[in-house]
């Protein structure tokens, strides 16, 4: 187990290297000239050229990549073209708000998703199932900008319970995490339901019931544990997506997070920031996958890591 983890961790380095090449190429292939955008809307040609030299964009692509990668090897993510501040600082300032928003969204999404999923599976084709699955479909289909604005309109403007945005107090977390978690809760509910329904048809469940175990114990202890494997995989993926920061939710709720930074830097063609963010997302996904793999073993000791 320990050797497995070490091996996987070592595998991160070549993966990231390959990812970095792709990111670099993609970012530089987006049409649009950062020098012109940095220089501003009314800059002269000469200003633009000056900026281009300063940013090193006049050099060939290959040499730009090597500069980038050798800086990266020394843990230097570069400087933002837009703000001229270190990219590391730009990202660090926005990581925690996104991280906590993700944690809260996932927390309520997991609790509600599991609850709805389990109830729907055990009360199959009864009203509880229909209500549960109806909310799940709504959760997936409601566009988050609409849901977010509706929540603001109702709970902030009409009722005045929560702030319209920002993360200055804990109340600020409530509306965005509901908006962000709605889709995730829905997906978890649907996965739990279908997976649990399959498991409930297994022989060992019948055995359990036959030997007189309480239904609750059968469902929550014996069935759910085995039904969790696809749910955990999917939850891990969702966690990864959310950690990247939701552009829409962070924009609607003026959240100082990574999603807004990404959309800002893409529209500004702020190459170093886009690259660093993409690399961070890749790293997050690799780590989450590793954690998910380890969780498999915890849930099902039959799974071996060799």
């Amino acid at each position: 187990m320990f050797r497995y983890i070490v091996r996987r961790l070592l595998g991160i380095v070549p993966t990231l290297l390959i990812v970095s090449i792709f990111i670099f190429l993609f970012v530089h292939m987006i049409p649009g000239d950062p020098a012109r955008l940095v220089a501003g809307p009314d800059a002269s040609y000469q200003d633009v050229e000056l900026v281009r030299q300063e940013l090193g964009l006049d050099k060939p692509l290959v040499s730009q990549y090597f500069t980038y990668i050798s800086n990266l090897a020394q843990a230097d993510l570069g400087t933002s073209m837009k703000t001229k501040r270190p990219v590391f600082d730009e990202i660090a300032a926005r990581f925690m708000p996104t991280f906590w928003l993700t944690v809260w969204s996932m927390a309520w999404a997991i609790v509600f998703g599991l609850l709805i999923g389990v109830i729907s599976a055990t009360k199959r084709n009864k009203w509880q199932d229909y209500t549960g699955m109806f909310s799940a479909v709504s959760g997936i289909s409601l566009p988050s900008f609409w849901l977010g604005l509706m929540l603001i309109q109702l709970f902030s403007v009409q009722l005045g319970w929560f702030p319209t945005g920002g993360n200055e107090s804990w109340t600020g977390y409530i509306l965005p995490s509901i908006t962000l978690g709605a889709g995730v809760a829905a997906v978890i509910a649907r996965f739990t339901r279908s997976s649990l329904m399959d498991i409930l048809r297994e022989d060992y469940i019948r055995t359990g019931r036959a030997k007189g175990l309480k239904e609750n114990v059968v469902v929550w202890k014996h069935a759910l544990k085995n039904a969790m494997i696809p749910v955990v995989t999917m939850t891990g993926l969702q966690f990864g997506f959310l950690l990247g920061g939701s552009i829409v939710v962070e924009t609607v709720f003026s959240w100082p997070g990574l999603g807004r930074l990404l959309i800002d830097s893409v529209s500004f063609r702020d190459y170093p920031v886009i690259q660093a963010e993409m690399l961070l997302f890749a790293l997050e996904f690799i780590l989450i996958n590793l954690i998910v793999d380890i969780l498999y073993g915890v849930m099902n000791p039959q799974i071996r890591y060799e």
Binding site: G32, A43, S44, D47, F134, G165, T251, P256, S267
Partner: protein
């Protein structure tokens, strides 16, 4: 099947409930006209306000607090609460002395002398004097510093401190619009001690002479300034502090104003202006801007090389209807090549809406059956609306227009990566321009002078007119307002006739505020002034 029907009913009713809730925010109104949003200001009671600090919600993140390295209007607006220039603009963009008590320009527009205000101190205690001004101008005019506003001061040959309170700036060559460059946000004066202390980090630590002092800046979120109790101007500042908070989503900004989390918001989308104005103690204020909206016509391409075709396009577009459709009536029709708010503007005879005349001109030009062309523009909803409206109007006179909206980076690549005139693909380009110096020169030269064709500058019409170029240059050889005025009057008339653009509209600036707030306003260039903010 039966169950599914229930589901459908439930879903529909839920949607209905949601729509009722959302109805509060989405009312639209159909009446238009040349309008003033502020009419119903007096009808409502003054909203309640606690404390003496205000919050202003803005659209974008702030980029820099170094005035000489800033080229976005928004960062410049926030700087204006802390930093001041020798000269500045008043509410209508007329030039006024600020840190200079008086100023004069030599006849040949080469030497500029400023008499400075005495007894002013920077926030860090450094005295404001001629030496401080010299440090600032030397800094921005030195290309090695690679500051974004270098080009505005590259003509400076030398800056001298004649005595403690007199500064003399000499240019390499005459430049008649130089005073406007000194009034520009880029010429605001920063404490020389702070420049020494922070170096490049001055962008994070603005120290000026303004009514507010820099307090903190959380780059991911907000910037806060606090009252400067030692401010030189009597009676200011009137509030204890101002917090500037970027709120990118229009609806969220509006909600903040409704709940009172923000006291002033801008910009405010025209669609929402009417539905919130006059409720919850909210006032929407619209004022004429200097942002011109036009469609550049590539004058080197057939059939646009024929002036009759270009004039026909101008006759074919109903500008009044354009204004209503695209800007809900908040604006005015363009009646010269520059907006009325710019210095040396002179009114021209508008091209009236006359599709018959347009058809006639097309016939004379040999395009009786019309032709097909393409318009490029941005991909925001206003630009798309505008281009589709033009498409419809020109369709009526037989010109088939394909609308191609593009993301801004892609668009600027398509236009400005073209090195040779012959390679330019652009036929029609829907764009806008705001002359940040308030002077006619910067409203005309980058857009219509022969030396400004892409990639050099923004003459997307590829318009070349020797006579006009001569006049534009002549106007820069002198600082005499009368001579400049005469030259620009002739330029405006000439280019208006030549119609290298379809002249469209001048937008209004739109801001929303609570009715207890006074003294915060937008200037015609779209920048904001909060220096005189006051709660009443």
């Amino acid at each position: 099947m039966f169950k599914r029907k229930y589901l459908a009913t439930f879903l529909t009713s839920l949607l209905a409930v949601m729509l009722v809730i959302s109805g509060c925010s989405g009312q639209s109104s159909t009446e238009t006209n040349q309008k003033k949003a502020t009419d119903d200001k007096q009808d409502q009671p003054i909203a309640k306000k606690e404390g003496n600090s205000i919050t202003i919600a803005i659209k974008d993140n702030l980029i820099s607090m170094d005035p000489q390295d800033t080229n976005d209007t928004l960062s410049g607006s926030i700087q204006s609460t802390m930093l001041e220039g020798l000269v500045g603009f008043d509410k209508d963009m007329k030039m006024i002395p600020v840190l200079a008590e008086s100023y004069e320009a030599s006849e040949d527009a080469k030497v500029f002398i400023f008499k400075l205000r005495e007894g002013v101190k920077f926030h860090d205690g450094t005295p404001f004097n001629a030496e401080a001004v010299k440090v600032n101008i030397d800094r921005v005019s030195n290309p090695d510093n690679k500051l974004k506003r270098y080009s505005m001061f590259e003509l400076v040959e030398k800056t001298e401190a004649v005595d403690e309170y007199t500064v003399k700036v000499t240019l390499k060559e005459p430049f008649g619009a130089m005073l406007n460059n000194f009034a520009h946000p880029a010429a605001r004066i920063v404490s020389p001690e702070a420049i020494k202390k922070y170096g490049k980090d001055i962008a994070m630590h603005p120290v000026g002479t303004g009514p507010f002092k820099f307090l903190e800046w959380d780059q991911s979120d907000h910037l806060t300034v606090e009252k400067n109790p030692e401010y030189w101007q009597e009676g200011l500042p009137k509030v204890d502090g101002i917090k500037f908070k970027p709120v990118p989503e229009n609806g969220a900004r509006v909600a903040m104003l409704q709940t009172g989390e923000a006291d002033f918001i801008y910009p405010i989308p025209t669609e929402q202006a009417e539905s919130i104005n006059g409720k919850d103690g909210i006032v929407v204020e619209n004022r004429p801007s200097i942002v011109a909206r036009y469609m550049a016509i590539n004058t080197t391409k057939k059939p646009f090389d024929n002036v009759k075709v270009r004039q026909a396009i101008n006759y074919a577009i109903n500008k009044e209807a354009f204004l209503k459709v695209v800007y809900r009536g908040y604006g005015s029709e363009m009646d010269s090549i520059i907006p009325e708010g710019l210095q040396f503007y002179s009114k021209q005879t508008p091209y009236p809406y006359d599709p018959e005349k347009a058809k006639e001109l097309l016939k004379e030009a040999g395009y009786e059956k019309g032709f097909e062309t393409t318009v490029w523009g941005g991909n925001n909803s206003d630009a798309i609306k505008a281009m589709e409206f033009i498409q419809q109007q020109l369709g009526l006179v037989g010109i088939k227009v394909n609308v191609i909206p593009m993301e801004s980076g892609t668009l600027s690549d398509k236009i400005w990566s073209v090195q040779n005139e012959e390679d330019a693909e652009v036929e029609l380009y829907y764009g806008g321009w705001s002359s940040s110096t308030g002077d006619a020169d910067w409203g005309i030269r980058p857009l219509l002078a022969g030396g400004s064709i892409p990639p050099k500058s923004y003459n997307v019409a590829y318009y070349q007119n020797e006579k006009a170029d001569q006049l534009i240059n002549a106007a820069l050889q002198t600082a005499d307002p009368e001579k400049r005025k005469a030259a620009y009057a002739e330029v405006q008339e000439m280019i208006w006739e030549d119609a290298p653009w379809a002249f469209l509209v001048v937008e209004d600036t739109m801001a929303g505020m609570k009715n207890y707030l006074h003294g915060v306003y937008l200037l015609p260039d779209g920048s904001m002034s909060a220096r005189e903010a006051e709660i009443k």
